[in-house]
Subunit: 593 residues, 2 copies
């Protein structure tokens, strides 16, 4: 397996050349007091060392040995405890945190790249700090001062980790059905009782305490999602001086045996009258949890990208080394017994598919991170617009990046031929590890419904318009001849997206199933169109650097061309299947399946 | 996991209603002396019992425990030895064999369904008899009388298994590079020396002897593929009376640890001056091996279908049982806390994608099997035509069925949500097991080149014409109004396939890379078009049965509509990417990746 190398140059290209964070951050005063471009560069540089040298090396044994469970105790795989200690001591657990409580206040544009590095190095490892950072975000936004002083500071310090307790055996997507109960106590706390499943990092030995963010219902709560509240339930109670108090009746019943992410503990967590503290308002727990969930959804999207980048790097190294058969157009390496497989069109197809998807996903993820930063640190109209774009793009990041990421993991494995199926090469681990990203944190089908039904249809198309207006403005401003090869197909794709959205929304007025039947294809259509937008932006910057001695910019322009020639055309089939409507799906009675 | 149920009704529908084997077989005298429709039905019925009751139950522990290796000895997982014994005693190892040597002489239309059943039950198990049947085919066709009497009879009897020894560490696809040597001996035998990797069933404890079909080169052989000969090398020598003689210097060096098919032994096999016997003529070994390889390629295609059928059955059962959220168009099960997930458009999309692909793959596989039977048992022009169709369709069966099969395994896992990622449900095993089918027996990229470069371009389009003429004739004969919903898009797809073939062949005259760059998409385009042809045939038969009390026929018509509405349109994007040509792929220098 190739040694992982963080694509720092591509990250810097996006930050500085494409999205020009120097001037962006200066216009966001609450942000610019904490970060400048030099700090950002230094942070990414340091983070790349941790990812390459500390985390990537433990991934294979994490997969082979995995976490173990013995009588309620979870032991992480060899090396994880040490790696986490190094990571926490480096201050990385504070990276995106609220500076008032010990966080470093870095923008999402930095933390998103940091997340990508962790995921490329080892998705399993990334989940422990990833869940903690998401929980911290929710506590920082919705918790009271006492919760923040007592718990948030310790999460940022890397002392304590956190988990996200939503799912129950009978209630996965449908959270309205949960049964976990929270009974109010005289001291203002609650006693939480219930069983949660699929709890990532629900129990482990990396930190001395684990803070569970738990969805539960008061005994007299309204039925359904409107009766759900959010509680912070520590594994060990915490004394007033911050030291650990008594055990809080939170136990791990078992861990799951899974297809992949073997080094991530996926736990059954039992709350047996555990003391918990309300986060946010009663019965508004879902909204508070969504602060964490939306963070994690973008993070899971980045998992897809992380695995895909690793897959590309591995497959590229293998393809360059592996000699097998001759080029169709004549011998390329007469001194060798065969040419490298890089000469074969179909191998190039697989590698360039990966390259174009990865660089496109990274750019789109940086774009979404930028909107998140404007939404968090900006004000006025710009802030409102960014808020809408974040809402629109979150399901796309989650589902589109993970669908493409899985494709890239599989494609990289295919480049390896038979060796891709053998465990020792590590390539098949990427396929197994990244597969979960399409499922957890709301399946990709749920993301598609969130996009089309909740956001696009829910806003009667207004939320789409925020995006299309921005792209149209970009198109109008980009009139140079050399950019027309990108602008013309981008315009076509955008028009088609607008038209089909309108058609779907009209048809949904008479048959609402239209939305469910179109959702998956619609999300992909949107994804390819949005990715065309950021690819055009990247091509524009790279073309402006020509002529250049730096291969990077030439490669960027050529990869942009590849994207428009070979990936954007996937939209044609998606439009055809969206147009097919609900009839072919609902004409078939359940008994006829 | 749902209990596996063989889709016998669909198989019988294809045999009797769609392909009318009763009259087909009567026109093939060499075949009809061995089989009639009653025998065929009885065989499939019996075989379904073995698959459901004997083989399917061992699959999970085969995955969990796998094969083990100790000092050259391979032990299969618990239950495999007993299952193989039952299988062999039932006579199934003789099913497709030459009746002159103890085979049952059943047509491929029967044995292909038998293979599907085995693969749905357990791909790992299916590989042991599958490799043996392929080796037997090569020996039956190319071996001399002595080899047939001594070895073929014992393979049919299920006493001895066989393996296929092609790959060496440095030579996967590029067989011209192999180094294994065969030195002629005075008694007419050869001493074979060399190391082979990735040898499925190269060593195991299911049979007392294993016959290796080994590609090797004589010391003075011409370089490259034209110097390759094929040898039968038994693990134990065989005495004149058929009893086992001394050990033949064939040893297993290790087994691979793989992503899936854990119960299949993938071996490093070392030949250390092992006594071997020439199969066919000297230096024509590749052609003799291709008899086996083409058999296995169709068989591997069927592995994709087998896993996909299992995935569909599991996911369907889960979807019917799992209640979660309400239908978009209003509550469907007011007596339950939520509706079953069958009400959601996106779940139906995943299930119907699987259903339409599986029934389409089964029909296309039956069509190919029919051509194989005509090629084997027919004569004259019909035989010549069938030969061409088999050559054309073999790479499509291998690559298209396995690509669709993997998609269906993944889709079924997605229907399960988080449970699909947990090992105990068995669904993720299907994804891991079926992934190899896209890789081994010639990667799917190699299959695509075989189709487009070797067969279509190699015949200057003549081989394509054999297929298109048949479909055109069918279209011309199918003029009823009710069939036009299928005939019109089939005609369009066929015309597009013809046009783009012509364009690619013309462009390839000036730039041969055109072929390599188009190959993968072309194979899929061909696959979807060929599948539309068999779906039209199935729809026609099912429509003719209307009105009917039998849900089966109604389901068939509706699934055909689904195929034309939602799967055939994938061709639009494929045409666009084929049209993109080599420029986007080859403009990028290796250094710019």
């Amino acid at each position: 397996m190739a040694e992982y190398r963080v694509p720092l140059k591509d990250m810097n290209f996006l930050l500085h050349d494409v999205f020009n964070v120097g001037s962006l951050w200066q216009n966001l005063p609450n942000l610019s007091e904490h970060v400048d471009v030099e700090t950002a560069d230094a942070i990414l540089q340091e983070c790349s060392k941790i990812a390459e040298q500390v985390i990537a090396p433990i991934s294979r044994q994490g997969d082979e040995i995995g976490v173990s469970f013995d009588n309620g105790k979870v032991t992480t795989a060899p090396g994880y405890k040490e790696a986490f200690k190094t990571y926490a001591e480096g201050g990385w657990t504070a990276l995106g945190g609220d500076p008032n409580y010990g966080g470093m206040g870095m923008p999402k544009m930095i933390t998103a790249f940091h997340e990508e590095m962790l995921c490329s190095a080892d998705i399993s490892f990334s989940l422990y700090p990833g869940l903690t950072a998401g929980a911290a975000l929710s506590v920082a936004k919705h918790g009271n001062e006492e919760l923040k002083q007592r718990y948030l500071t310790r999460m940022y310090a890397g002392d304590w980790a956190a988990s996200m307790c939503l799912t129950e055996a009978h209630a996965g997507t449908d959270l309205g059905m949960i049964r976990t109960k929270a009974e109010p106590q005289d001291d203002g706390s609650y006693l939480v009782t219930g069983n949660k499943i699929f709890i990532t990092g629900g129990e482990h030995d990396l930190t001395e305490n684990i803070l569970h963010l738990v969805l539960a219902k008061l005994p007299d709560a309204p039925a359904g999602p409107r009766g759900i509240s959010l509680f912070l339930v520590p594994k060990h109670q915490v004394n007033d001086d911050g030291s650990l108090g008594e055990f809080n009746n939170v136990s791990c019943g078992s861990i799951e045996h899974k297809m992949g992410i073997h080094a991530s503990a996926t736990c059954v967590i039992n709350f047996d009258g555990a003391k918990g503290f309300l986060v946010g308002e009663l019965n508004k727990g879902l909204a508070c949890m969504f602060t964490m969930m939306n963070f994690e959804r973008v993070g899971v999207g980045i998992q897809g990208l992380g695995a895909a980048e690793r897959s590309y790097q591995n497959a590229l190294e293998y393809a360059k080394d592996r000699i097998q058969s001759r080029s169709l157009s004549g011998v390329k390496s007469p001194d060798k017994a065969a040419d490298s497989i890089m000469v074969h069109g179909d191998v190039r197809r697989m590698l360039l598919d990966m390259k174009a998807k990865n660089e496109g996903s990274r750019a789109l993820s940086a774009y979404i991170a930028m909107q998140l930063d404007i939404a968090t640190f900006g004000e006025g109209e710009a802030q409102t617009k960014a808020d809408q774009l974040v809402a629109l793009m979150t399901p796309i990041a989650k589902a589109f990046f993970t669908d493409l990421g899985f494709e890239s993991a599989v494609a990289g494995q295919q480049v390896f031929g038979g060796h891709g199926y053998i465990r020792e090469w590590g390539q098949e681990q990427l396929v197994r590890d990244t597969r979960i990203a399409q499922i957890y944190e709301g399946t990709n089908g749920i993301q598609a419904m969130d996009l089309l039904a909740r956001k696009i249809a829910g806003s009667k198309g207004a939320m789409l318009k925020v995006f299309t207006e921005e792209v149209k403005q970009y198109i109008a401003q980009t009139s140079s001849d050399e950019m027309q090869e990108f602008i013309v197909p981008l315009t076509e794709a955008l028009n088609d997206l607008e038209n089909i959205t309108e058609q779907v929304l009209v048809k949904a007025q008479t048959n609402v199933e239209e939305l469910g039947c179109a959702a998956n294809d619609y999300l992909h259509l949107f994804g390819y169109t949005a990715m065309a937008y950021v690819w055009a932006k990247m091509a524009q910057v790279a073309l402006a650097k020509q002529p250049s001695d730096d291969d990077f910019y030439q490669s960027k322009v050529l990869t942009a061309r590849y994207y428009f020639a070979r990936l954007l055309p996937r939209r044609h089939s998606l439009i055809a299947t969206i147009n097919a409507g609900p009839e072919p799906m609902f004409a078939i009675d359940e008994a006829l399946f």
